[in-house]
């Protein structure tokens, strides 16, 4: 059937098309029923009766739709105008007509012209409303959106589209009985249960830890950090928010001369704590340099930079990492096991953000198991701990209502720029606060 339609639409040999007037607006590319029949007779050399029959079938299957009196799907051999249905709406390409779409269409109609729904449409509407009530918001929202989008089109286009849609739904109105709805939601549900089954299977395969062990770890963690938690144990010299004194922050800045005792203690809690603190990382680097294994930390830092940096620099960074750390004879060659090395080198041929993950993990655990415990036992760390200050608690002033001046601090953006300009981290920030950290309040 579609070949016939395509042939009909051929601009030279096809049916004569004119602009037809429908009420006030002009509909482009419309034809009369008569034209259709005549063309069919001519092209296929058939009788008028047969042509009328064929034409009627075309209308009934929705390839041509009448503009006037759209509900009667007949091909009239007179002046009544018809149009070709757009391929998007052809029966063969839009199967099955989903109930959701029908609901959206009805909702649109309802919104556009209240009460224009014909009886059977009204019935369908209410059945649908009950049936797919849970997605009704979605339906209404979609209907509104589509109406809004259509308002932006030219009036002629809009009418055309409306007619097309209407014709389509006349032909294809889904029976709002069980079969189609069942069909539609079945696939949704199938997908949902299929997916959850996969998740459950995966979860069953997972190794679980006994509750007692997990819960004990929470106890230990809370205990360990109890004194570091300002809300639980207060903070020295005083909580800045209460006393309006920023001493607590100034003595804990990144690159302060002498760190506080709590801070140094925290480095011993876990390897991650040490690495997260920039001063801790610096100290650890100094230690590793003594042990001639500093390349491990450098490698780890470079990999972190790769993982979290800009996408555009990935290839460049991978090359650098390879040159500095992985290439045979590299200046700072890291000792990775052969299997991981092989895998990494293979992966470098197609570099992406996570290519160094395996190697990075290997080095991380190497440092954690080996260098880190030794660092904690080393003289370097012990000295640091001994040097570390314990600030005195601020005595509460006699006149508690005497408020201190609250000074603003430099914006982090400014600090970053300043350190970049200078090329090295300053003592306690560019505002020139004293780098002696014995806080005397």
């Amino acid at each position: 059937m579609e070949r016939v339609i395509v042939a009909m639409q051929d601009p030279d040999m096809g049916v004569k098309m004119r602009n037809q007037r429908l009420l006030i607006t002009v509909i482009p590319h419309a034809m009369t029923g008569n034209d259709v029949i005549e063309w069919l007779i001519q092209k296929y050399n058939i009788t008028e009766e047969e042509a009328r029959h064929l034409g009627g079938l075309l209308v009934q299957y929705g390839y041509i739709y009448p503009l006037r009196d759209p509900r009667s799907l007949l091909l009239r051999s007179d002046d009544s105008p018809y149009r070709f249905q757009t391929p998007y709406f052809w029966t063969s390409s839009r199967w099955p007509a989903s109930e959701l779409d029908y609901a959206i269409y009805l909702a649109k109609k309802n919104i556009r012209k209240q009460g224009e729904l014909v009886d059977y449409e009204k019935e369908n509407y209410s059945i649908l409303h009950k049936r797919i009530n849970h997605t009704w918001d979605f339906v209404v929202m979609q209907a509104r959106e589509q109406l809004r989008a259509s308002k932006q089109r030219r009036k002629a286009d809009r009418i055309v589209l409306e007619c097309q849609e209407q014709a389509y739904w006349l032909i294809n109105k889904p029976c709002v009985n069980m079969p189609l709805y069942y069909h539609y939601t079945t696939t949704i549900q199938l997908r949902y249960y299929y997916y959850t089954t996969i998740i459950h299977r995966r979860a069953l395969g997972r190794n679980r830890v006994k509750s007692s062990i997990c819960l004990e770890s929470f106890m230990k963690y809370s205990e360990q950090y109890l004194h570091h938690d300002p809300i639980m144990s207060g903070c020295l010299p005083s909580n800045p928010w209460i006393s309006d004194d920023t001493a607590h922050w100034t003595i804990n800045t990144d690159m302060v001369g002498t760190p506080t005792r709590l801070r140094v203690e925290r480095w011993s809690f876990s390897f991650m704590e040490l690495l997260n603190d920039s001063m801790g990382r610096r100290e650890f680097m100094i230690y590793l340099e003594k042990e001639f294994s500093a390349e491990n930390l450098c490698f780890w830092v470079a990999c972190e930079d790769l993982r979290h940096g800009e996408s555009s620099k990935i290839i460049l960074k991978v090359e650098e990492v390879y040159k500095n750390f992985l290439a045979p004879g590299a200046a700072r060659w890291v000792n990775i096991d052969s299997k991981t090395m092989e895998r990494t080198l293979e992966g470098i041929k197609r570099p992406h953000r996570f290519i160094m993950d395996d190697a990075q993990m290997h080095i991380y655990f190497l440092m954690k198991k080996d260098s880190y415990p030794r660092y904690l036992k080393s003289e370097l760390y012990k000295n640091m701990l001994a040097k570390a200050i314990v600030p005195q608690e601020t005595k509460k002033s006699v006149f508690p209502f005497m408020r201190r001046q609250r000074h603003s601090s430099p914006s982090p953006a400014m600090v970053t720029q300043a350190t970049e300009d200078d090329g090295k981290a300053k003592g306690a920030g560019p505002t020139g606060t004293s780098s002696t950290t014995n806080s005397q309040i």
Binding site: Y194, H200, S212, D229, I231, H308, A413
Partner: protein, 422 residues
């Protein structure tokens, strides 16, 4: 609605019959497949034909779930309360409002701390995003977004940029310039594009990547510079309302909570859903990791907060009280993880003892529901943002910041509303 992620209709060649048809995109095992509707029906029917009727698949899913419950129970040899008996009891907690940040014209929806421990970015319903120095209560920057309901905002780790988004379905990054008079809106960079509202966003360990969650049921990882989608995470069957990045050593996972009452843990690298918890009775409004990264807490509309352990793969504690009937909108842990601060829709903030499961304090002070709550990076204080407005000045909404000071031996009455500054 999540249906949008499953039923996006495009036009093109079908993966199975190679004809140009309207396509439906499915995600099977997070692999996108484009089938035309005809082939999809055939596939579904084939699935049906091979004995997996809907009923049997549902039944299989149920049996697996029951089996999973059993397995989890086997290893559950002790309750948290029992273990926590050894823990020291907490004394009275005395927290006062120390700063009130006024200046938003409408409800405060979200806030985030800067790593410098004193700056805060907050976003509100009127479309304004303000960067404050909370210590001095000065406003440092203000951006007007082209959309209302800015539901998510985040501070970059370097302190040089902020990200925000909401009903515009996008996440935009604004670099914070030093020149305060400069128009920040001009430098805006649109990073994330979703098909529904943005509910949460956070920077990962650097300024270069953003993780977003959206009402379209997905979360996504984006590259800030290029705006490219690096990874997307599908699996929620309804809006994703919240997300949090894990502080773990490998830094590779995050947890998200949604309207489908599930909290899912995802692997950033592969996009896979590694764990799922569905014991809540209602929408999960907020999830936060325990400081060690081994557990996370969630706040939900069912008025409870729960603690889920990731290694034991189960819920280990519920924080609820009969007298609390309103949903919890936001949670955060104190630095040691001993205290859990939760903001509720009944305008209060409840402080829970994580280990013992009891409520330590209740804080008043807001005049409308508490929408967001965050502890400062060094744990010295926490900030709560709320929907309140005073009656005198009609559109005046406040944020209040509470610091910590625990006086174990004094017994001042706790929780008295006190907007004064010391």
């Amino acid at each position: 609605m999540c249906d949008q992620t499953f039923l996006a209709i495009t036009f093109g060649p079908c993966d199975s019959c190679s004809e140009n048809r309207p396509l439906m995109n499915l995600y099977i095992k997070t692999e996108p497949i484009n089938y035309c509707s005809l082939c999809m029906e055939i596939m579904a029917c084939q699935g049906l034909a091979s004995g997996e009727t809907l009923k049997s698949l549902k039944a299989e899913s149920e049996t697996l779930r029951k089996k999973l419950e059993e397995e989890r129970k086997k290893l559950h040899d002790v309750e948290l309360e029992k273990v926590a008996e050894k823990a020291e009891a907490l004394g009275e907690l005395n927290m006062k409002t120390r700063r009130t940040l006024k200046g938003h014209g409408n409800k405060v929806l979200c806030m985030d701390w800067c790593k410098d421990k004193r700056r805060i970015v907050s976003s509100s319903q009127d479309g304004k995003v303000i960067v404050w120095d909370a210590f001095t209560t000065n406003k440092e920057h203000a951006v007007t977004m082209p959309t209302t309901w800015v539901m998510a905002c985040a501070y970059a780790p370097s302190g040089c940029a902020i990200a925000c988004g909401g009903l515009d379905n996008k996440c935009s990054v604004y670099p914070l310039s030093l020149d305060k008079d400069e128009n920040l809106a001009a430098k805006k960079k649109s990073v994330a594009m979703h098909t529904n509202y943005l509910s949460g966003c956070t920077f990962t360990n650097s300024d270069m990547q953003i993780l977003t969650s959206s009402g379209d049921g997905t979360s996504a990882l984006w590259d800030v510079e290029s705006g490219q989608l690096l990874q997307s995470f599908h699996g929620h069957s309804a809006d994703v309302l919240t997300l949090d990045l894990a502080p773990s050593e490998t830094g590779n996972t995050f947890v998200s909570g949604g309207s489908d009452k599930k909290a899912n843990v995802w692997d950033l690298r592969s996009g896979q859903n590694v764990q799922s918890f569905d014991t809540h009775d209602s929408d999960i409004n907020c999830v936060k990791y325990y400081p060690s990264g081994d557990a996370f807490a969630s706040a939900s509309d069912d008025s409870t907060c729960r603690l889920f352990d990731l290694r034991a793969d189960r819920e280990v504690s519920i924080y609820s009280k009969d007298s609390i009937m309103f949903g919890a909108a936001s949670v955060d842990f104190s630095l040691s993880g001993r205290l859990l601060f939760a903001g509720y829709n009944d305008y209060t903030i409840n402080v829970w003892d994580v280990l013992k499961g009891t409520r330590v304090a209740i804080l008043f002070g807001h005049e409308n529901r508490v929408s967001s709550l965050r502890v400062s990076p060094d744990g010295t204080a926490f900030c709560s943002g709320s929907w309140d407005n005073t009656l005198r000045n009609k559109f005046l909404f406040t944020m209040t910041a509470y610091p910590g000071q625990r006086w174990a031996n004094c017994a001042p009455p706790f929780g008295t509303p006190n907007h004064g500054q010391m």
